[in-house]
């Protein structure tokens, strides 16, 4: 039984140019204790999907207009349910920790507030619990830093504070939306290491949302690739990276410059990222795809198992045979 189950999710946004479907029929599951990467570039709908799970789709512009989200047998789209679980059962870490922290409260008090509000802890108990958490997320000299303000922390340390707050109530699902995108590469390595370690210790489910295929490679069990609001490929990480069944996935892999071996000319994906206001008929990726034919213009491809690949590996493409035999 999956802990989180998303079925045919549709989220629309009203923009000045018209209504866009940011998430268009996305379905996926996250098992208990599993680490899943939700991958995609700008406009893919990955962050909006997470907002829908958390019940924080920006209103009134955004609206969940179809599908279902089930968490541990509870309907997250029913009024009040997501709000009740937020923080306790499902927690989230964002890209920019500075805008998520209150600048005028001391960091220790902000972490402790979680225990005071949700657990009825006394001021002293909350402070002790906050200190404990700050140590667990690797903040040096934590007892001295309890009374510092957010601006006195570096970017990497602020992200640790956010992770400490997210873990305060021992959630069973942690969603991290581009948690390392704003950080330097050496600090990014620290934070990914920390998230992986905490996931193992807590046994929680972890959803990592990122545009960077490399960041999650050593961490995630499974990947879900989104393009223009739809899930285009899903499967075990190594299986998907090594035997990509969707031309978008194989295109992304070929676009990343290598850190070792001979330098070869990159093979980019042609064209521009999708304009959600003017999506083509059928497969959204078709204008950038070298396998596209008439069928792709007429019929929207659905996720299905790839020929001679494990059943857990699925792609939404009419021509996976060509993609699979294409060696980059």
């Amino acid at each position: 039984m999956a802990l989180l189950s998303v079925r045919d999710l549709r989220v629309e946004f009203a923009t000045s140019g018209g209504v866009v479907t940011a998430v268009d029929g996305a379905s996926f599951e996250v098992g208990a204790g599993e680490t899943v990467a939700l991958l995609g570039e700008s406009g893919s709908g990955k962050s909006v999907t997470a907002q829908a799970v958390m019940g924080i789709v920006p209103k009134p512009a955004g609206r969940v207009c179809g599908g279902s989200i089930t968490y541990d047998d509870r309907d997250l789209l029913a009024p009040g349910v997501a709000k009740g679980l937020r923080g306790r059962e499902i927690a989230m870490v964002f890209q920019d920790p500075l805008s998520s922290l209150n600048p005028v409260f001391r960091v220790g008090a902000q972490i402790g507030e979680m225990f005071r509000r949700h657990r009825g802890a006394s001021r002293r108990e909350a402070r002790a619990a906050a200190l404990d958490l700050m140590k667990r997320v690797g903040i040096p000299a934590a007892s001295k830093r309890l009374d510092d303000y957010p601006h006195q922390f570096s970017g990497g340390m602020r992200q640790r504070v956010m992770i400490a707050m997210a873990l305060a109530l021992s959630p069973r699902l942690l969603i991290a939306d581009e948690p390392t995108t704003a950080l330097d590469v050496t600090v990014q390595a620290q934070i990914m290491d920390l998230l992986a370690r905490l996931q193992a210790e807590e046994g929680m489910s972890l959803v990592l949302i990122t545009h960077d295929l490399g960041v999650v490679a050593g961490v995630a069990d499974r990947v879900i690739l989104m393009y223009a609001g739809r899930v285009v490929e899903t499967g075990p990480l190594r299986e998907v990276y090594e035997h990509s069944g969707h031309p978008y996935t194989s295109g992304l892999m070929a676009s990343i410059p290598e850190l070792e071996g001979p330098r070869e000319r990159l093979v980019p994906i042609q064209g521009s990222p999708p304009d959600l206001l003017a999506l083509p008929s059928g497969c959204s990726f078709r204008p950038r795809c070298r396998y596209a034919d008439e069928q792709c213009a007429e019929v929207e491809p659905v996720l299905r198992q790839l020929p001679d690949r494990p059943s857990t590996h699925q792609a939404a493409c009419h021509h996976p045979e060509g993609v699979l035999t294409d060696v980059h």
Partner: protein
């Protein structure tokens, strides 16, 4: 490179910013953003300058094109000493020296058409392209950077992020420069589009003989485009080498840690190597550690590192690294 004089030669460059008090804005100290940097770029060559935030890599670029004033040191470009050049002559030099920025949208005038944006430089330098040739030249440039020449009348907001960066590149090429400084020029782009722009920069170098100073934090991108690479940390170059040398035999502990931290999309393809995760953050340039700037995060640091600033010196015919222990590191790799 040894016989011909380089196109750009930077020596002992120092740039500092005043540190001001909170209320009265009195100058209370200096932030040494660039603390003695030297490098050469030959005509047609590409130097990659990598570093994390606070390394001073962007300040190096801004000082070269005159957006910041050098405190000391020399910048010789194509025979001219830029640090002491009169304003009028600087205009002539800037023709040959162009820059591409990270955020193409912020650097393009939203009320001007693409044609106006590209042709603007020719108002200042009328001798480059005669007036009656402007339209044709804009079309040529758009075609060269992979944009539809028929879109010359469009405005920046009508283009995607990758296309806007191509407009920025076309504008930089308008004056037929010899050196283009790319400051995080592909960092904001989606990876699929980033690869397109990297290929374009490759083509332009080959076709036009351009030299690049390519500044980026992404090491795999820098490896892809550079002939030589310099690694900066807290205002200093800590290691410099050919692209091939630096990525196969990094000598400075910081370079080793940086390389180890680069996310690898296929970790299982490589022989198992020990991952180096260094603790802490880059110290503030306003309050750098004594001695070696990296010692607070370095696993090799000893007492000596707190007192002596390591010089960037070449040992055993290998590439220069500014570390007291580089010699034994060399022993380990050779």
């Amino acid at each position: 490179m040894s016989t011909e004089s380089p196109l750009l030669s930077v020596r002992d460059l120092q740039t500092s910013f005043p540190m001001r008090s909170a209320v009265l804005r009195r100058i209370v100290g200096q932030i040494q953003a660039v603390a003695g940097v030297s490098f050469d770029i030959p005509a047609g060559g590409t130097l990659g300058l990598v570093g994390e935030s606070g390394s001073g890599k962007s300040t190096v670029a801004r000082t070269i094109i005159g957006l910041e004033k050098a405190q000391s040191g020399s910048i010789v470009f194509d025979g001219d000493e830029l640090t002491s050049l009169p304003k009028a002559s600087m205009r002539r030099v800037r023709r040959q020296l162009q820059m591409i920025f990270q955020d193409p949208y912020a650097s393009l005038n939203p009320r001007a058409t693409v044609e106006q944006i590209i042709a603007e430089a020719w108002q200042i330098h009328p001798d480059v392209v005669p007036r009656n040739r402007h339209r044709a030249e804009v079309r040529d440039l758009l075609e060269r950077v992979g944009l539809n020449p028929d879109h010359a009348e469009r405005y920046p907001h009508q283009f995607s992020g990758g296309q806007r960066q191509r407009i920025g590149i076309a504008r930089a090429l308008a004056l037929r420069p010899k050196l283009v400084i790319c400051d995080e020029a592909v960092s904001a782009l989606d990876v699929s589009v980033q690869a397109q722009v990297l290929n374009l920069l490759d083509d332009l170098r080959r076709d036009l003989g351009l030299a690049y100073l390519f500044i980026a934090h992404d090491l795999s991108v820098v490896r892809h485009i550079s002939d030589r690479v310099a690694v900066m940390y807290l205002g200093r170059i800590v290691e410099t080498a050919s692209q091939d040398e630096l990525f196969t035999r990094p000598l400075h502990p910081y370079t080793q840690a940086l390389l180890s931290a680069v996310p690898d999309p296929k970790p299982w393809d490589k022989p198992a190597r020990e991952q180096i995760i260094i603790g802490g953050d880059v110290p503030s340039p306003a309050d750098p550690p004594s001695g070696c700037g990296f010692r607070t995060r370095c696993w090799k640091a000893m007492d000596r590192c707190a007192h002596d600033v390591p010089e960037l010196i070449t040992r055993l015919d290998l590439h220069p690294a500014a570390c007291h222990f580089a010699a034994e590191l060399e022993g380990a790799v050779s």
